[in-house]
Symmetry: D2
Subunit: 336 residues, 4 copies
């Protein structure tokens, strides 16, 4: 950490800050400049809590050099992690994983149809939501445990590991029973209690980026899970909130190569939620793969026009099959 | 809802949309324009789920006229709500409520000292966090139930109702037992399961705006609580995330008069979290009161320089007392 | 346009609005709903100025159905435009155009070296700034007319049409003389006087998106140029400002397929300014091409470490040549 | 400046960076940490251009300690500046200045009526736009020089100094002739050529914050004007662009006390453009004054419903008079 003193800070104020750093068990190295004094803080093994220091007289600002994550950082874990979800692998050197399925689980038949289409198209994992977070309380809220059974059944019938969102801690037990991978939604990316409980399970986790989370906060959220001993985390970029409203969110695709440099964890992209427009899903899927995504999560519904949730961004099974053929060609090209 | 057709939509496509609207039990009113056709949707008693319609061929976009909240809207509840928290009242015509206390509950003594200072300064409610959401897993996480006891004890000793944050559903029972008001933090504003459970309690709720939530989403979150039968909701503006980093968040003060027009629920302001700078808290507190806030929530700590959390934005007790004198004069002026 | 009345608007207020619409020479079509009345406005040949209507009593909001651009819209110009810059063509069906060169023109030798590298790598156009907008007044500000001569000379020597930024109207004449294409920078996207003057020249224009401009505003800015009779506009996405600071801007790649649907104008991508990091330029270039960009503008400098401006995002000539080989392979694949 | 090396940077890379700093004529002070090395840069007299350094191998990031403005900073100019506009004074200790008038100058009569209302209400300066930047090319664009004459005439008739926007350099001469203060609009805040020319005039300037400009960029823009020798700069907060669309922009009121701490220049607030809603103007005006604004700029129009521009945010003369009475009382209270 670097502590920047005010232009007019007195030598006594500088000494007081140095003393406070020592109280924290760290070393202070003053760097007298021509305009102001800065104080380097040494000896810390990670992120330093600066709230005490920032309040001392004469301090203009504190600048963090360490990041609020360490186990998620490639600095301390240079080799890429490969995450195995019931045999499907995410990570460097593995074929990107296509996860597809409806936003919401609506019925046994719908999940069977969806799984058939995902399998036929060449998808490797099946998704579906049993508990849905919706913006207003008067919308469809999901089938719950019943839905989880349909999901598991459909996944088993077609040999597709399944992923579903966990929204509260009490849902963890049943979801771990029925699903191969737990999804943490964007709205819960900083639900730290949930992250910690998920961290205790060792179950593979798909952690979605919060809609206004910086990359630093995203990796710090992953750190919560890793800290509890669960290293099976796959990150997911799903668009951030900006002033632009022509798309549902703004897909921040540069985050893919950036996260690949900063972290050893795999990262996938969800173009359906990011854009909110079915028309944009195929093209942004391909762009994401070229940008280095370790997988794609997209919405596929047997009949998008009758979907109870997010139909406008779901592909029909036929469109998915067509897109998958193009993707296969693209992946072959990228590996050639 | 208004459905806008593409410029080149065919009459058959228009008919198909009209038919789909009828299937939803609503009435479609075509509005042929010189450049394109629009279709008004009538007969709905609130927000219409448009995901089916948006996917039909020839549809360019759908425009919502109804809002995703109704019980929280002043349209359907014109008189202002007064929320009573153990005798302290929030709302139009009531004196703005000053809620103060430390970010985190750290010890019995600290809470007693804080309560004494809050009472001495003229504050009406005491705050303190027992379970803390922190950005990184290696920071102080709160005292838990033990802390709740200190909070309640201190509140009782000084005659101050207490408010504390609930972060997960299992905490609801103890918090309802120890606290007079439940706080939903910004990170949980769209934790819909939590909102619903809180809605079942009838306990007064302080609902903080999510850091990237629009006003519409903020009121829709309140609607979740109201829908379950708990009308005791006080809203809290605490800053939003923008590109500006000179302040911790950007305090959106215009939201105060705007929410007062759109909703009957009271709204308070938290200048401590919004700005993240102690120096800005007094002046923005006064600006918020002039803007019409029904109360202020601010951080006061017996010794900010040793606070375990957010010390940089906490006022010391002496500063609080001084600020409260200025506030008293301002409130007198505003009522004169 | 749709005018939405307040829930409690009186019939007299509705009548007054209808009368005001008629005064504007348009037709008003009331759409009585179960909760409120809306009024459709018909007969307009484009965007309606709603400032009068919005102020009338009883009006809750106005909703625009028409967009603030028409000549730039694909609705009214379905076939894609091909823009020819001294023989290099931008648009559907043409090979994507690679524009490369230094941020700033620094010397005759530097431009000759840069042009040689751009040509050798397979680039089709040369870029370089003679007048630089810099964030602070104490930075390097550009060589001016002298620089333009170096740019033209280098372009001619290697058979590369050249593009450079025009920052003020008085620069238009010399720049039209020395350059084949005029660039309007992000900071000037809403400098309407400049847009209009550029519109009078018929010179090809590269219009960069403003850093906080919506797609709608971006196309409305293009409309200013088109309205003056200059249809030779190529759009350029260069990143938008968001809360994320890990990259210089947030590259909004979804805008490429979206603009291709909304407008007939070609769109290119500038990954150098969007990301601000050299390491991200190659991968985001490829992603942009897969997303459908009609070209790429990137910074290439003979010696990035000594660049007077934006060296951190410039590729060296050798890296450019290597990237161009990968791009050639990608383009072949995309066309196969 | 602080240079942070990668965790795995070699001693040779550290030495290379130190050498590069010396080439720049500055001193490098290595600060070896337990996890990584940082290098302090000393000896600079202001902002350091880091583009060379950032590209060197082993460098993770550079962190600026100096700000990109110096003449605008209170560090180097501790006493507050008082800006005198034809006898009206902006700054600490002066009564806040109320600037009012229509968005656009529409006719001689309109300006006379507006000036009469502004004077009658107690306003101290008159505003009005002769050249209007509008989002689309098909809107009203202003009366030009003719309008300037009406503005000057009306100002003289009622003893009100006048301010108007300059949009291009060629307009500078006539505007300096007719107006007492030049306004730089938000869209031109980073039109550096215009800033420099304005800096050469010594005419008082009202510099509006760009809609996505940070406070640092805002003060750096002021620095451009100061650097040319014109110290008569008044800053103006007018709202920033965020994800919230319920207001036209988000009024960032915390910027007022923050700028007062960082800079010696006065700062005023424009609640009309910030909120875009007439209903919010009075309350946000009062909040801005309490926050410490040195003045307010607001839109007042003799007949808002017939305004050719931004009628929805303009107050009628009667409403202005009423608001001014409340403001007088508030200012008396604040000074008591």
């Amino acid at each position: 950490m670097l502590i920047v003193m005010h232009h007019h800070a007195t030598p006594e104020q500088v000494d007081q800050v140095i003393a406070a750093v020592k109280v924290m068990g760290l070393t202070a190295e003053p760097i007298p400049g021509s305009l102001r004094t800065a104080i380097g803080v040494l000896g810390n093994q990670g992120y330093v809590d600066d709230s005490t220091i920032r309040t001392l007289p004469g301090v203009r600002e504190t600048i963090h050099v360490s990041k609020p994550y360490k186990m998620a950082s490639r600095d301390f874990h240079p080799e890429a992690s490969i995450i195995d979800v019931a045999g499907v692998k995410f990570g460097d050197g593995e074929k990107p994983v296509m996860i597809a399925g409806p936003c919401s689980i609506e019925s046994e038949q719908q999940m069977m149809d969806a799984a058939e289409q995902v399998k036929a198209g060449g998808g490797q994992m099946l998704r579906g939501g049993a508990f849905k977070p919706r913006t207003g309380p008067h919308s469809f809220q999901g089938l719950g445990i019943e839905g989880l059974k349909y999901l598991q059944q459909a996944g088993k019938a077609y040999g597709l590991p399944v992923v579903t969102e966990v929204m509260r801690i009490e849902q963890l037990d049943p979801i771990c029973k029925y699903a191969d991978m737990l999804q943490i939604g964007a709205r819960n990316m900083q639900n730290f209690d949930l992250l910690k409980e998920v961290g205790k399970t060792k179950h593979p986790v798909l952690l979605k980026r919060g809609m206004s989370a910086t990359i630093e906060e995203f990796l710090a959220a992953a750190e919560y899970i890793l800290s509890e001993g669960n290293g099976n985390v796959v990150l997911c970029e799903r668009g951030i909130r900006t002033f632009e409203t022509a798309t549902r969110n703004t897909l921040d695709l540069s985050v893919v190569p950036l996260v690949r440099e900063l972290s050893h964890l795999p990262i996938v992209v969800d173009p359906s939620h990011a854009t909110g427009k079915r028309m944009l899903v195929p093209v942004m899927t391909k762009a994401a793969l070229v940008a280095g995504a370790h997988g794609i999560m997209m919405e596929v519904h047997p009949n998008p026009a009758q979907a109870l949730c997010d139909g406008a961004q779901s592909l029909a099974g036929g469109d998915f099959a067509e897109l998958m053929q193009e993707i296969e060609r693209l992946l072959e090209f990228l590996q050639s």
